[in-house]
């Protein structure tokens, strides 16, 4: 009996160690989690003294690894290393094309420490997801970067220039499948739809196939599953150099440095310009002082060499605009997106 109970004690001890090990690893992760989770500082502007820009948080409304995530983390890194601000906490709140994050931002009324990374995708998602919160509710802070779209075909494609592609597309839109890396309402969806409209194709006739990001879209183009792909040009640069895909046109106003031989749509006789962009907004009704803190910090970041280096490395195009000017731009985008989605019957 006694022997048995000692044995049991011994085994309980080992169990204890195992539990401790589990708990330890749990602690590690909860600590990580606390970094990403909405910290206590987020709830209401803590009235502390106005020490220059400390305790700032940037929320990323989609998952780690995406474009918004990379942008927000790069912004935070530059602001920290250039000592523009204290530590900037970046956390992810993914869901419903970014509108879960948007709702949260709108709910954080008056919180001057929080900002949300966003872009054209969130503008569309606010409509397609029938979000109650809209970007008009937020306080625009700054537009940071933009990226031109590209019309891409595989190296074996029968289309050698944009004109032949558009001609075939006009002839029978249902036979020419367009692929993009976003769901309806996202940038890669808006690009071909607006292009179709610009060349006189009824957008509802466009056969758009949504892929789950560039990782799924690229193989579909290379493997000739679709007639052409529409996405940000950055996704394709390496594949262009490798000769796997051809870019028939870029959608920017001017030609792109990285692709000097590729004509713009305008040069090819299509009067259409499209850029995807990313920017930062803050919750509604923040004080002018808080707004100025964000605008000043981002302006200082934008002027730093470190930010220029990052943009160069990542192939981003500078599109820095702040405050009210960004607000006007947001409104324009909002109207254009609403119109095309209405046209497609995606928004009533």
């Amino acid at each position: 009996m006694r022997a048995q109970s000692t044995a049991r004690k011994a085994s309980l001890l080992t169990t204890g160690i195992a539990v401790a090990a589990l708990a330890l690893s749990a602690c590690g992760a909860t600590a990580d989690d606390a970094d990403t989770a909405p910290g206590a500082g987020a709830t209401g502007g803590t009235g502390g003294n106005a020490a220059p820009a400390s305790g700032l948080q940037i929320m990323v409304p989609n998952s780690p690894g995406g474009g918004y995530d990379t942008t927000a983390r790069t912004v935070a890194k530059v602001m920290e290393t250039e000592k523009i601000t204290g530590t900037v906490q970046v956390f992810n709140l993914p869901g419903a094309g970014g509108t879960v994050g948007l709702q949260r931002t709108v709910n954080e009324k008056g919180n001057g420490k929080l900002a949300m990374q966003m872009g054209l995708g969130v503008v569309g998602a606010a409509y397609t997801q029938k979000s109650q919160a809209t970007l008009n509710d937020t306080t625009p802070i700054a537009k940071l970067i933009e990226e031109a779209g590209a019309i891409v075909v595989s190296k074996e494609s029968p289309y050698t220039d944009i004109t032949s592609l558009i001609d075939a597309w006009k002839k029978d839109p249902s036979k020419v499948n367009v692929g993009g890396g976003s769901s309806p309402g996202g940038p890669d969806h808006l690009l071909p739809m607006q292009l179709a409209k610009a060349v006189g194709i009824e957008p509802t006739k466009v056969s758009y196939i949504s892929y789950d990001g560039g990782g799924e879209l690229l193989p579909a183009i290379i493997g000739n599953k679709i007639a052409f792909g529409a996405s940000g040009f950055g996704e394709f640069l390496d594949q262009v150099k490798a000769g796997e895909v051809k870019v028939l046109a870029v959608t920017s106003e001017e030609r792109i440095d990285a692709l000097p031989d590729v004509p713009t749509l305008k040069e090819s006789g299509v009067d259409f310009v499209f850029t995807n962009w990313r920017g930062i907004v803050a919750p509604p009704e923040i004080s002018d002082a808080d707004k100025a803190v964000w605008v000043d910090a981002l302006t200082a970041m934008h002027d730093s060499q470190a930010w220029k280096d990052e943009m160069e490395k990542r192939g981003w195009t500078d599109a820095f605009v702040t405050g009210d000017e960004f607000g006007t731009f947001l409104k324009e985008q909002d109207t254009a997106v609403a119109e095309i989605l209405k046209n497609l019957g995606l928004v009533s």
């Binding site: 992760a29 509108t99 397609t128 995606l346």
Partner: protein, 507 residues
């Protein structure tokens, strides 16, 4: 072999104390993260990114690779011990693994998972060296029609294991498919079964479903019976795998590898589908199929090998042509950009040392994982001797934390509880759990590929029939469906003949 000499150079490069230290940190963090439900390798790599900017790219990549493999490893531990799958790729492991644990064979289940992962990881990495270009070409050729055909094989296979009653099996499958439909329709943007809730717009995360059905459902079930049945003590069992366990494990390991590796290389192929295929294959091929559902070691060995092999497969398109096929690979690629390196078709040409050091670090990381996990297996197994009320309290704690960690949304906790009640009801009315999970994971995939195939063909039904891979799949389906008839016609043959064993991969 040019690749081999490069690889040797890679080994020479990694075998410095500092690099080995980073590999060790990577696998340890990866295992910890895998153990915790809800926190995946993708999230961890993203969180660690800022820290690694100060490091040399090689060291950071070594660490990331460790996290990646370690995560696949660690996921099995909670699946087996606590019936709480940490990642969607280790959901299948919980089916047989937890039954083994309850029968006092937790140590064997953990060991076969660890060794199977090691074998699969090593073979997968070796294949990475040998057949990179061919695999990429094959993976890109596969389109939606082929994926649909492969998924249909999994569905047909699943319906063969629907449990004692077909009606109950199908009921469970339909519930799973319904849960899978929740969310925004990716083609039309319509909301389905979301009841206007933004939290449901992205659908319910597989981890939340699995943890709810498995862990919470079971905890409720046990709690409901605690008064009537005195808690049976879980037997201790032997600490290591016996000869019989080895004999029954090695073939599933190899078959699991054969399923997992190509799937990892397919864009959006993922690690879940091969674990299901592996489980269903093992169940069909098993000498004692009646053991399935009560803790068959084959059902742990195969799927665990499959998910690790798929992790190796993921690196193929990433390193060869710069295409990430899952979230972790996408973040690793974005990290490369942060260092000013250009991921893509030229990475191997421009940075051969980085690529081959990474590959070498995968071999080292795999070995480290085995050394780290195998001795721990008997210790982990003792965890189950905690008295039941405390054990299940602990399980509920882990389940809740995991469900919350997926999206950091309190809403998910209510979902978890609701799904726990569903899990309780499933047990109460004798409905099998596997078809439901298959419905949740594979249903949306099948829908996506089916609809995409039709979109591509402009609505023409011929679009559903793809290339040779699809044909092979349809032949297999026809075979599975017609087999009972054929078996009657040919009385000389036993139903579990070995003629449709998938090709085994030799290292």
């Amino acid at each position: 072999m040019d690749n081999l000499s490069n690889l040797i150079e890679g080994f020479a490069n990694i075998l410095t104390p500092l690099n080995l230290l980073f590999a060790l940190i990577g696998v340890t963090v990866g295992t910890a993260v895998g153990v915790l439900p809800g926190i995946g390798p993708a999230m961890t790599v993203a969180l660690l990114l800022p820290i690694t900017y100060g490091l040399d790219p090689t060291q950071a990549m070594i660490m990331f690779a460790g996290i990646f493999y370690g995560g696949m490893y660690g996921g099995s531990t909670t699946s087996i011990l606590l019936n709480t799958p940490g990642e969607s790729a280790s959901v299948v492991t919980a089916l047989e693994g937890n039954k083994m644990a309850k029968a006092g064979r937790a140590a064997q289940a953990l060991a076969t998972a660890a060794i199977g992962s090691f074998v699969a990881g090593t073979i997968g990495t070796a294949l990475l060296v040998l057949v990179m270009p061919q695999v990429v070409a094959f993976a890109i050729e596969l389109g939606s029609p082929e994926m649909l055909a492969i998924l249909l094989v999994a569905f047909v296979g699943a319906s063969a294991v629907l449990g004692s009653s077909r009606v109950r099996g199908f009921a469970s499958l339909l519930m799973g498919l319904t849960i899978g439909v929740i969310g925004i329709d990716f083609v039309t943007g319509q909301q389905r079964l979301t009841f206007g809730s933004a939290q449901l717009a992205d659908g319910i995360d597989v981890v939340v479903v699995a943890v709810g059905i498995f862990a919470v459902g079971e905890a409720l079930w046990v709690a409901a019976h605690l008064r009537r049945k005195a808690g049976t003590v879980i037997p201790v069992g032997r600490p290591w795998m016996g000869r019989e366990d080895w004999r029954r494990s090695w073939k599933p390991w190899l078959r699991g590898t054969a399923f997992g590796f190509p799937f990892g290389a397919i864009p959006a192929g993922g690690a879940e589908v091969p674990t299901f295929l592996s489980y269903l294959t093992e169940r069909r091929l098993a000498k004692r199929p009646e053991e399935f559902g009560h803790g068959a070691i084959e059902g742990v060995a195969g799927p665990e090998a499959a998910n690790n092999a798929s992790a190796a497969g993921t690196l193929v398109p990433m390193l060869a042509i710069g295409i990430p096929t899952n979230a972790t690979a996408a973040i690793m690629l974005s990290a490369l950009q942060g260092w000013g390196l250009e991921p893509g078709p030229f990475l191997i040409e421009k940075q051969p040392l980085l690529v081959w050091t990474l590959v070498a670090s995968l071999f080292i990381g795999n070995t480290m994982l085995l050394l780290l996990n195998l001795p721990l297996a008997p210790i982990w197994a003792k965890l189950l001797q905690i008295p039941r009320p405390y054990l299940y309290a602990g399980i509920l704690f882990f389940a809740t934390m995991g469900a919350y960690a997926v999206n950091a949304q309190p809403f998910d906790l209510f979902l978890l509880l609701a799904l726990g009640l569903v899990g309780f009801m499933l047990r109460r009315f004798g409905l099998p759990v596997l078809p439901l999970i298959i419905g949740v994971i594979l249903g949306p995939l099948a829908e996506k590929h089916g609809r995409r195939s039709l979109q591509l063909s402009g609505g023409d039904l011929n679009g559903l029939i793809g290339g040779p891979v699809a044909w092979v799949c349809y032949v297999i389906i026809a075979g599975v469906i017609l087999w009972p008839l054929l078996a009657k016609v040919l009385p000389g043959r036993r139903p579990h003949d070995r003629d449709h064993t998938p090709t085994e991969v030799s290292a």
